[in-house]
Amino acid sequence: MSIKQVIFVALVIAILALLPVVIKKDNIINLAVYVLLFVSLASSWNILGGYTGQTNLGHAAFFGAGTLATRFLWLSGWPLFPSLLAGGLLAVALALLIGIPAFRLRGVYFAIGTLALSQILYITVANTFPMISSLPAQDLAVYQLAPRYYLFLGVALLTIGTAYVLVNSRLGLGIMAVREEEDAAESLGISALRHKLLALSASAFFGGLTGGAFAFYHVGYYPQLTFGPEWTFDSMMMAYIGGTGTIVGPIIGAVFFVILREFLVLKLAELHLIVFGVLFILVVLFLPGGFVGTWGKIQKAFARRSTQPESRALPSNGRVDSIVDPLTQDEERRLPIK
């Protein structure tokens, strides 16, 4: 990162840190909490879904596991941070449990398998813990919003920071090599399974941590709430619309989503999901790479204008041989075997 970028990030963090000090309105802070929550959730999803290309439709399982563990331990008397850690670790344990058999499944079966898994947990939790989980009176009395906000801020920064470090490390390179061409990576000595499990664990840990923060934040909710598929789907859509496989993408997507939801809730409830659904489809079909990718293409187009035009006058009508990978915006070239 350049100096300019570092300063920019530092500034943003400073502004976010000062937010509850400056603005005393609870509803704004709550909005910010939700933005940060989804930033974490979308970014953690992206670690697996965006960077390894394994579409995880069961991310809510990690979010839910974190909530479950943290809430239970914290309300039992455990201090907060160990409870949060326990939530994250439970999520990782869950991830490793399913990861090893799940990664044996080819592409789409992994996606459906993870969806099935999180649905199983959702229904099971709903039936095992049907009672609402409420904060006991003494905790309610001393409830303060600001610490919750800072917790979510911390989790978000941790998630993004880890994602950034991971991506730019040798491990990250290995992960992306596995995504691009698994067999080739294997032949170079990169264990595909190990790298995928690593990405999965990181994704799960931060999903669980976010869940733990949620458990600390929410006053009363039904335990199965956080296992609901909408958490996965919303995170996934944010990552796609912002731009999967990038650090900034999920952030942009999350901010956009939450703000849009706030704006539309005033008009018509549930409409925001329809809008998002449409946007999502548009991104998948026409704008791979989401906001980030499209912005990159616009920049490239302008850069090309100032130099000479490329001699790529190829018709792109129904070419069987070039496809666009939905997770990056690169065109994959399939060379003929013969």
């Binding site: 070039s322 070239r333 399939r334």
Partner: protein, 233 residues
């Protein structure tokens, strides 16, 4: 009958064909020979419309083919037997042949065509209710060719019909191809088996690295020193 001019084709950014031009006249048996990866199959794909060229023209009986969708090529009278035969293994021999006559024109004369194909390939009639997946390699090739003939093509394009066949079957295969040509079907034969192809063909084109490296009659090419040393050593 078939005329290709200046075809440039790409796989993504990789150029596979560089200014390919060739002609096939009615009644001829023309061979397209060359090493692996030279672009023979790619050329066929451009003709049948499975691949769109970046530039150049393909004309069949005076009509340009570049606006014609791939699935309409057979209506115009061009039939291709793809590499490896590509029979529908889950379906019976008879069903495969019937599908060859899918286009409505051919469907009407289906029974006649079946008789004709059975005449050339009696083995297919014996096995007509068997699943195509149970046939041997040679029989599958025969089925693939027979299936292509069911549309009563004017031009039959064969992509390496001898591939993977035992030598004695290769001989038989080429006999049958010669017979088909004798019965009036123009043939464009893509082959790696250079000797057999050149002995069979009236004319041939040599393709190397996506370019036409030479052309001539079958006999002439057989006698060219360069061809001999490159392919027949």
């Amino acid at each position: 009958m078939l005329e290709i001019k200046g075809i440039n084709a790409y796989y993504g950014d990789l150029q596979a064909l560089w200014g390919i031009s060739l002609q096939v006249s009615e009644g001829e048996l023309v061979a397209l020979i060359g090493p692996n990866g030279a672009g023979k199959t790619t050329t066929l794909r451009v003709i049948t419309g499975l691949m769109k060229p970046a530039s150049g023209s393909v004309q069949f009986q005076g009509q340009p083919l570049d606006r014609v969708a791939a699935h309409r090529i057979v209506e115009l009278g061009i039939s291709q037997v793809p590499e490896g035969g590509s029979v529908f293994t889950g379906m019976s021999v008879l069903e495969n042949l019937e599908l060859g006559a899918f286009v409505s024109k051919a469907r009407k004369v289906k029974d006649q065509s079946l008789k004709w194909v059975y005449q050339i390939f009696p083995r297919l009639e014996e096995r007509k209710n068997q699943r195509a997946g149970t046939l041997s390699g040679g029989e599958r090739q025969m089925l693939a060719i027979g299936r292509a003939l069911m549309s009563k093509p004017k031009l039959l394009m064969l992509d390496e019909p001898s591939f993977g066949l035992a030598p004695i079957l290769v001989q038989q295969m080429f006999e049958m191809i010669k017979e088909i040509n004798r019965q009036g079907v123009t043939i464009l034969l893509v082959e790696q088996n250079v000797r057999a192809a050149l002995e069979l063909a009236h004319r041939a084109f040599v393709i190397e690295n996506g370019r036409i490296a030479g052309q001539g009659t079958g006999e002439n090419l057989l006698s060219f020193e360069s061809v001999r040393s490159a392919y027949l050593a």
